[in-house]
Chain length 122, copies 2
DNA sequence: CCGTATCCGTAATGATACTG
DNA sequence: CAGTATCATTACGGATACGG
């Protein structure tokens, strides 16, 4: 569906398959109940496993571990082990990971707008 | 929507619950395998049930129906029934629904950036 | 045309206990 | 501290058939 409803300025076809793929990529990366909370927490700097557990209410170590692994695989976070006793592990956003912030902002923006819109019609 | 981690000792953040809630709202709305494809298709104008089925490869009527109901409940689409025989039903994005487009654009943008970033390091 | 009803398999998440 | 292992449960989505 390569529709292009060209209005004045360009920038239109969401449905061009290249864009569809990009959206799918993005969704795959942030998929799961805890990915965005984790990223959100890491927006404020490096965190250790325990810090993340404390920051994110109700998350279990199992899920935190699992999601962090996926984020690392997807180059969203880096994991650094320091050879202390006991070991210290730090998680940090990659540059790409930090840019998800813009997406989060867009989500916050839409969420608030939408709530407002819905409220005003009820 | 700024992050400003510097408000005295208080963390003013994305994690401020108001923002967390807004993100969760947004995710709830677009959750599911077919929500964004449906919204994407409706970006190009009103569609009938059958049109959507044709536009979206592999979707079953069960899922299309289910997702449309949720989108309607969330004020993302409107459903209009015309009293013809057989009945005609049209689905259309609400203003709020149309604004999801901005979110899609942000996803496309990040997805492409990220792919680029990952490629260049391999 | 516009859906609904059932049934079923898998994937995602939770609960809890445990290890190096 | 930084995770794993195991088991139970729920959410999600596909297949198919049928109804107004």
């Amino acid at each position: 569906m390569d529709t292009s409803t060209t209005n004045g300025n360009e920038k239109v076809q969401i449905c061009s398959s290249e864009f569809v793929v990009a959206v799918r990529d993005t969704l795959n990366v942030i998929r799961g109940k805890w990915k965005l909370p984790i990223i959100g927490s890491l927006c404020y700097g490096k965190k250790r496993f325990k810090d993340l557990e404390n920051d994110i209410p109700k998350i279990t170590p199992r899920m935190l571990s699992k999601e962090l692994k996926e984020l690392e695989l997807n180059s969203i976070v880096t994991r650094t082990v320091y050879d202390t006793t006991p070991v210290t592990v730090e998680y940090e956003l990659t540059p790409s990971g930090r840019k998800i912030r813009e997406l989060l902002d867009a989500m916050v923006k839409w969420g608030l707008q939408h709530r407002e819109a819905v409220m005003s019609t009820e």
